[in-house]
Amino acid sequence: MRFNRLRSVVLVLGCIFIFNPIPCWADNLRLLVVLSYDLPAYQSFANTLTKNLPESVQATVLHNPEKVAEQPQTDLIVSVGMRASLSAVSQTKVPVFVVMIPKVSYEQLLVQSPKQSRAPLISTVYLDQPWERQLNFIQAILPEHRRIGLLYSAQTLADLTLLRKQAAKLDISLIDKRVLSEDKLFSTLYDVLDSSDILLSLPDTTIYNSTSIRNILLSCYRSGIPFIGLSQTYVNAGAIGAVFSSQQQLSEQVVEAIRLFARNGNLPKPEYSHDFTISLNPEVARSLDIKLSSPGIVRSIMSSVNRGIP
């Protein structure tokens, strides 16, 4: 009997713990969207996000992350970009959902911010794409291009060890060369292009920036080597294609996380964006005499690979 009573107490306490340890905000969640900079890329994300939010969420957009601690009562922060995330994590104790930073940077964020100062709850949807998706994409559009060229440096924001493993699984060769200094960029690029079928860009602004992209793209084009970008901008610039998550797709996942948080006070685990965009540049492909399938077909090839369909 005593045991049964104890069990009831545990059950009741358990229920209280599960359902009511922290308040739920089904009706009135106070959300603070903190932008790293007051620049168009961040503003447009904030706009996309706020448009997608349910009416029950009261959203405030803060354009200056330095003032995050001065904000009145906030239940959840969505920090857009690294600067905003660092501020939110270090200056508040509010749960933070991080967006618009790649996986490696998110991990750095966790390391950089000491545990005692970190928000009790933190999670993210990564800005970059999982290697599996990236490689599937390349295989879907260019199945005969098996030698992937890569340029990296100490500043590259990507886990290359993981990429090498993933490529080995798919029997893809990686021709990766480290760019030792800025003035070695193009000699290293030519070395890579000499033995590659394709050049895959990585998040690294010391290599790929508005100054260097012109010569990189022209060199690739002259060598007849297609270039895979990181975003729509790369495709506009002259990449043959890119797989990326749009602001709308990221926003939708953030909204899901907010809904979950509003329901039970939890955030989902950090993960890659579920949805992604395939962007192709048919004119560049045609000029390189490469026959590209439509984005829809590429997507279905990618999903059939994921389902194990040969």
Partner: protein
Amino acid sequence: MNLSSKNFLQPTVMCLSTFLLLGMCDCLAGYDDIPEQSFVQELPVVLNASRLRQPVSEAPNAMTVIDRAMIKASGFRTIPDLFRLVPGMYVSNYTGNQAIVGYHGVIEQHSRRMQVLVDGRTVYMPPYGGVVWEDLPLQMQDIERIEVIRGPAAASYGGNSIQGVINIITRDASVLQGFEASATKGNGGISDAAINFGDRSGKLDYRASLGYRSDDGYDTSQYDPNYDGHTTRLFNLRTSYQPNATDNLEVQFGYNKGSRGVGSDNSQFDKAHDTQNTAYFQQITWLRNLEGGNEFKIQYSHTYRDELNLLGVLSDNITVTRHEVEIQHTLHTSHTNRMVWGAQLRQDWVKAPNQFWSELNFHVSSLFAHDEWRINPQWILNTGAMLENNGLGQESVSPRMALNYHVDKKNTLRVGLSRAYRNPSVFEERGYYHFDIPGVGLAIFYQSRGGLNPERLTSSEIGYLGAFLEKGFSIDARLYQDKLDDGIYETTDIPLTPPVYFENIIIGTHTGLEVTTKHQWGAYNQLTFNYSHQDINSNRGDYEQSVPAYMISALYSNSFANNAAVSIGYYQQATVLPMDRPAYDRQQFTRRIDLRLAKKFKANAHGTEGEIALVVQNPITDKHIDYRRRNEFNRRAYLTASINL
């Protein structure tokens, strides 16, 4: 017709550049440590419609592309020689310093039916409507690639392109960061040197080229000592400025000066002597990338060419200037339709006191549109037309259509129909070539009568393209029929007695076949093979004989693992008698082999590279005759040493 009117376009250009330099911004500059920057940064549109070459399988015409690798492997020293690698193209020399590049007949000193562009600037010049190749401020090292459109393309390139278009694209301003130098020495007085250097910052890039080129021309023959050597000094500069992600401003400049050996001591009046030639150009191009891959381009160029030709008390000088403005708008009207339209205005001014009654100043204007409709993934329809007024009283509309059918990923068929007009050149329409010779009196060689009709070429073709990449093989074949009406050629009232004048007197039907195959095997073996066959059926026998019945060219190259490379060129052509030559100048069957051996070496650990190359032209066969019997082509051997820092 006065000199000051040459400057009519310059204020426009000044205004344009001022406008372009205002109001540029770079929103994310200075935010380098942001991990998300890679994903949110603005990037300039680099591979825009102007830069992208149309794949051969989608082009409305047959097209041959000569790239840098082919240029190097060929071992050629001069640009006109490269066109030996184009099926159906005849390359020769009127003298050792006056190259002739002709396609599909009427082989004569001035190939007037080809459009030649360097970075979009027309370089065929009045008064004859041909290209003075040696006067182009351009070196082999400056060329990125050459696209040769085989067949009429007047609908896109204007009235000089009724037989084809040579499109020379120079290396981008950003291509070079460092220094390249080469020196060449060989027999026949061959002595060349080139220095290329450049730098890039991404926003402002430049590339410069300094060159010296000279040789003795043809060797002395039994008919003439052949005083036809030349010395050329040239410089060119290409700069590119990207103020933001959407705009690109390019400024180019080129200068060429040199002496050209002309005349002969066998001649009574035209003794062996040098002309002093000067040519230069300035070009400014503004390109704006618009939404959706569309773009707008405006280009202005000014070209000047002067030939100082003094013959004792006589002179035969020519000074030509050209101002050219072109606007071009490329737009995607839907996912499957793209069009380019534009207009061109050109002002040519010619002063050649011995060739015209007076200075001539005339305006050529044209309006063009071209549409590419991808009906579905298999079918592409290209249609276009150009309206052109040559400023000398002639106006014409040149339409064209081509339908490409991708049978599958490897095979493509093309059917093309076009009508192209070539308006008469200023010399044909207004020429008055005369000398007032002391003690002899007035000698009139040419006296045009004007009122010529434009030449009309009606062309039809069937093309086949096969690309079998897994087998390392591709083929480009074309069957064509070109019907020339109102062909302009010279005639006299009394046979062989000047003055000569021009009339619409040629009617001819060209029927032919052109084939290019490319083979690749092993890691480094490449072979390009070209064959062309042509028949002309004409009202004039001399016209019928003016093209070789067939021509073959082949280029094999192999680069070995130890940085050594070998290439062999083979050029063969059937007998031909140029239309403006007497029977004794008949060029018999010719065959020539060129050989190039090269070895690269690393000069040091910092990436400095060098190369030594030996080229031997015509190493096996005996001499052969180029164009005129006095032009004996003998063996040439030269060694080139180059270094890249």
